[in-house]
Structure formats: C-alpha cells, structure tokens
C-alpha cells in the first residue's frame, strides 16, 4: 500500500486508466501545463503528452460538449470542471444532453465520460466557489454520481467511473485534497453503487458523504463516549444508490441521520429520508433527522464558514437530542 494524498490519488487513478486504455484523454482548463489549479493532475502532461492531456479555453460548454461528442463516437474522455459551482455554466450538457441521448435514441447512442469537479467548502472562497452540488446531479435521471471521501476511494471509484459506460459526475472534495491515506498498489478498480459501513454500530445509522464522512466519524466517537453506538455509512455513490446497505443498517438500528454538506432543500438526504419513511416506516424508532448546511449561500469569512457546515459537535448534538 502506498500512502498518497487525495489529490495524488486523482492523478494515480487517471494514470492507471490512461495506461489501460488509449481512448482515455483528459481535457480542462489548466489541467495540462499547470497540473490543475488543485494540482490534482500534476505529471500527466509529462507522462502522456499533449495529445491526451489538453488545456482548453474558458469554455465550459465546449469542454463538456467536446467530451460528449467524443464519448458518443468511441472515446472515454475525462473532463474537468474546475469548481463544481461552474457546472451551472454548462448545466445543459449535464442535465439535458449527457443523460438523455441514450434514452432518446432508443439505445443507439451512449455517453461514457467522466466529469471531475472540485466540490465543497472549507477554503474561504465564498458563495460562488464553495458549494456542494452533488444533489443537483442526483436529481437528473441518466447520470451516475460519485463523491469519494478517501484517497483509496478516489483512485478506485475514479477508475470505475472511467470504465463505466454511462456519464459519471465525480465530485472531488476540495478540503480533502491534502488528506493522506493508504491506496492499494497495482490496478485498483472499485465498484460504483456501493456504500461502505465505515464504523459499525447498533444504536443509530448516520449517513455521510465526502468531507462529512470524517465529521460523522468524529461525531460518532463523541457519542460513543456517551454510550451511543452509532453506525456510520459512507454513501460514496448517490446514483446508483446502495439502498441495501443503507436500509439494512436502518432496519438494524431503527434510527436514521443524514449529514449533508449541501444546503438543506432537496439535498441527497431528503431523498434517502423519503425512501426510508416509505419503505422502512415500521422499522423506525424515532424521527429521521437531517443535519445539513443551513439553506443559505456560503459566507467567505473563516470564522463564519467554520460554523456553517455540519460540525462534529453539531452532528453529535443533534443525534444526542433526538435519541435522548
């Protein structure tokens, strides 16, 4: 096992897939010469050359359109949208083009591509560079949606995304890029659509994604000290959604919590809560509680940003109160 940072794991995953398949190429703004603004693609230009690692103009619609046209006709492109907030300037491709062409063409066309994007808060960048928008993508039929929380998952899920025959929106969390972790050596391809129990427990189920997984684990430690044994699940993939693992845990614990970085309304936790309130109603021992960022744009100031996302204290507090 190598120790890699989350950002190195991005480059490692892309390297693995580019070595495995010549049809894989990377396009995006400053991804080549500069190695990415988050330094997640450092070394790729040197390794694979300008045919396969390409700096583009600031033309997000052209970037995603180019990726789609290439994917439809035989390539396996990876496109970077620098900050996930910028998905808004090319949303037509994400919402109306990628996910509908297979269906509309009755299966004649496919769209095997990956859009990698820096998601989430914590860098004091303010309201237009800090959003968690994985729920935007989750709402669109025909997409797959992935958000890894560790370097190993970055490599394995990115590889799985590149090999997947459907369009995958891959959310990398900006505040995790510096995180180190063990990453399996050799070829490593994970499986989309699988959640992971990262802390087994018996009293309640806490679902989390990306940065929030670490905060949920921290909260679970605090709760353990008070005698509440929480099971923490890293959802990892919003579409496909591993409802077996999620609902299986809920049936066992009887209590469900979601920890979401997105602003509250229509977050991914709302969907899962609605599934649980329908399919597992009689297994529930108490309210389903969502811990989210409040439904506001994000502030830039560090002291404000620090308290606006769900914190371990807030998570533990919410669980404690509703379990009490």
């Amino acid at each position: 096992m190598a120790q890699l940072t989350y950002r190195e794991a991005v480059a490692a995953g892309i390297t693995q897939e580019m070595e495995h398949d010549d049809r894989v190429a990377l396009i995006g703004e400053d991804v080549a010469g500069a190695g990415g603004v988050f330094k997640a693609t450092v070394g790729l230009l040197e390794k694979f050359g300008p045919r396969r690692v390409i700096d583009t103009p600031i033309s997000e619609e052209a970037i995603l359109g180019a990726a789609m046209g290439a994917a439809m006709t035989g390539m396996r492109p990876i496109a970077e949208i620098m900050f996930s907030d910028f998905l808004a300037v090319c949303w037509d491709f994400v919402a109306n083009e990628f996910p509908k062409s297979r269906y509309m063409s009755n299966g004649q066309l496919g769209c095997p591509l990956v859009v990698r994007t820096g998601n989430g808060a914590g860098s004091r960048f303010g309201a237009q560079h800090s959003q968690s928008v994985e729920n935007w993508a989750m709402a669109i039929p025909g997409l797959k949606v992935v958000a890894p929380s560790t370097p190993a998952d970055v490599k394995g899920l990115l590889a799985a995304s590149v090999r997947d025959p459907d369009p995958v929106i891959f959310f990398e969390h900006k505040s995790l890029y510096a995180m180190k972790g063990d990453v399996p050596d050799g070829i490593h391809v994970d499986t989309l659509g699988t959640a992971r129990v990262v802390r087994p427990g018996s009293d309640c189920t806490i679902l989390a994604l990306a940065l929030m997984v670490h905060r949920a684990l921290d909260a679970a430690d605090r709760l353990a000290a008070e005698g509440i044994d929480a099971e923490v699940i890293d959802v990892r993939s919003l579409v496909p959604l591993d409802t077996q693992t999620i609902l299986g845990s809920l049936v066992k614990t009887g209590r469900l919590y979601t920890v979401e970085e997105n602003p509250r309304l229509c977050g991914w936790g709302a969907e899962i809560a609605s599934i649980a309130a329908d399919e597992c109603f009689y297994d529930l021992d108490g309210p389903i509680v969502r811990i989210t960022t409040p439904h506001i744009p994000l502030p830039a100031a560090d002291n404000l940003e620090d308290i606006v996302l769900p914190t371990p204290e807030r998570i533990a507090d919410k669980v404690r109160r509703s379990m009490g």
Partner: protein
C-alpha cells in the same frame, strides 16, 4: 476577408457530373415529398407533438449529404428531417417517429426533434439551441485523436449564432484545428423574429467567421450545386487536417417555424419571391439545361413520391410503441435502475 459567392460560370461547368446531379435531385425531391407528407399527416392529426419542416431548404441537406463519405457524421437540430433523410435513412423511420409509432427510428422515445440513426451517421438531432455544436466538435476531436478520416458536420439556424455555445464551439474548433464543418442555414427567421432585428451584423454566421480566424463564406443555399461544391471543399480541408470551415447558406423556409404556424409575421410578397427561387424549381431547370431528359427528371420525382406513399402505409400500419420500452435504455445496462 472576401465573401465567396459561386459565379454563374462555376455553375455551368461540369465538375459535379451527371450521376451526382441525379443523386442531388433524388435527395431533394424525396425530402420535398416527405416533408409535404409530414405536413399532410399533421393536418390529419397523425403527426404528434411538434415538427419543424425544411420545405424550401432541401438543397442544403442534399448538397451537404451528397458530398459526404460513409462514416461522416451529421449533427442536426429539431429541424432535422431533411438531413436525416439525406443520409439515406428510410422514410418510414422518419415519418414513423413523427407519428410516434413503433416503426419510428427511436420507436417514439425521442420524437421528431431527436431523429437519430447512428448506422447512417446521423448522430442525433438536438432540440436545445446550440448544444450540438460543441458536441460535433467532440466527434471531430475523436476523429483527429484516433486518426479516423471522417468529418463531423453540424447544421444549425441563423438564430442559433447568438447563443453562447456557438461562440465557444467555433473558438474551440479553430484552436484545435478540428475536422468539423459548421453549416448555418440562414432562413431569415429565428422562429417568428426576423434575424436582422436581433443580430448585430447582417450575416449572422459569416460576419462572425473572422472572430475565429475563419474565412467568411456565404453561399446560395437554394442551389444544390453550389452547396455541394462548398461542402466538398470544406470536407477536403477538414480531412487534410486544415481545420474547420463555417458556411452560411442563404435560404428560406416555405412553411411556418413549426407545426401549424401560419407565418403571419412575414412581409407580404416575401414568400412568393423566395418561391421563385425554390431549390426544386432551380434544380429541375439545371438538370434540363445540362441535357437530362424531362422523363428522367420526372421519373425520379415520381419515384420519390411512390416511396413516400409506401412509407406512409408502413407507418399507418405500425403499432404504437409498446409500454415496456418506457424504462429501457436509460443506462447502458439497458434498464433504469438507480438503486440496488
């Protein structure tokens, strides 16, 4: 940069040749009859949803398609029946999709605005203005990347030149010298609004070419020979690795924007003036002037109509699409499961 217009001298040389000319004629009359039939079927309430005809614009579809090689890729809009037919797609596939029958190209799942026939190189028809222009660039990138010889050709209207994706795609294609050909069908209207009223320049595409380092090219979109020649030159350039071409074709649609639009926003006389320049009329005379006999010309025309009649019968006899296709082909595994 100078504007290129085919001179009447060019028109009379025989660089195109009779076989190609008869093919151009066949394509134009087939499209004409098929579009007219689509309109009739609409009046009979047999065409569902919306539909956008290319009556009057047939020469563009015929000329660009006839100059293509097999394997070249067409990217169309909602106004895409003509371009789809021109690639050799059977009429019952097109009319069937308009009628939302099981024999339709996409078995009714896409509808008239999304005609697709990958086996014929019709890589989809796109209904949100502009999106397919960068998508065509992506297809061209693939050709360049994999060393394929094909050209990607994207058709769009005058009104489409004012959307952001047009600009991004043109710059992108020029920067990367992609083998893509951008075809603007300037039919003078963006839906119901005259293009000049909402565009800063007279020629919505050609006057923008220099913004991407491209030559300004305006052609007579009602003359299939001129279209064919321009297409061939652009494809040759693309295949030679010399990058994209933007071509503005001047034309006019005889019918309304969509469905039953009566086109009342047109100034009196405009339609009549353009009907005098009907591409079918022009080409019939062209063939005769090149010595093709009236009976050959009319024979192709009659045959086209027979084909349309036959296709119509197939469509009328076709079932509605079965309900079980409702949830197929959302994902590559054939299904729609978003959960386990």
């Amino acid at each position: 940069m100078a504007k290129r217009r085919a001179s009447s001298k060019e028109v009379s040389n025989d660089d195109i040749g009779e076989a190609n000319r008869l093919e151009l004629w066949r394509l134009q009359v087939e499209i004409r009859h098929c579009e007219q039939r689509a309109y009739d079927l609409f009046l009979q309430n047999l065409v569902k949803g919306t539909s956008h005809l290319s009556l009057g614009q047939e020469a563009i579809a015929a000329g660009f398609a006839a100059a293509m090689e097999p394997g070249d890729k067409s990217f169309c809009t909602y106004r895409g029946h003509a371009h789809t037919l021109a690639r050799g797609v059977p009429m019952e596939g097109v009319l069937g999709e308009l009628m939302q029958r099981d024999c339709g190209l996409m078995r009714g799942k896409g509808g008239s605005m999304h005609l697709t026939s990958v086996e014929h190189g019709v890589m989809g028809s796109y209904a949100i203005i502009g999106a397919h222009i960068p998508i065509a660039c992506g297809s061209a990138w693939r050709a360049q990347y994999l060393g394929h010889p094909d050209v990607s050709v994207v058709f769009f209207g005058d009104g489409t030149t004012n959307i952001g994706a047009f600009h991004e795609a043109l710059n992108y294609a020029a920067v990367f010298k992609l083998p893509v050909v951008f075809v603007c069908e300037n039919n003078l209207y963006m839906e119901y609004t005259p293009i000049g009223q909402i565009t800063a320049v007279e020629h919505p595409a050609a006057d923008r070419a220099s913004a991407y380092g491209l030559e300004s090219i305006i052609i007579d979109g009602n003359d299939a020979d001129e279209v064919y020649r321009s297409a061939r030159a652009a494809y040759d350039k693309a295949r030679a690795g010399d990058g994209p071409t933007l071509i503005e074709c001047k034309t006019y649609r005889h019918s309304g924007h969509s469905r039953a639009d009566p086109g009342k926003y047109r100034p009196p006389g405009e339609l009549d003036a353009w009907k005098k320049r009907d591409p079918i009329k022009i080409y019939r005379q062209r063939l005769l002037s090149f010595g093709v006999t009236e009976s050959v010309v009319q024979g192709i025309d009659d045959e086209a109509l027979r084909k349309v009649d036959a296709a119509t019968e197939i469509c009328k006899a076709s079932e509605l699409p079965p309900e079980d296709i409702l949830t197929t082909d959302v994902y590559a595994d054939g299904g729609w499961a978003w959960r386990n």
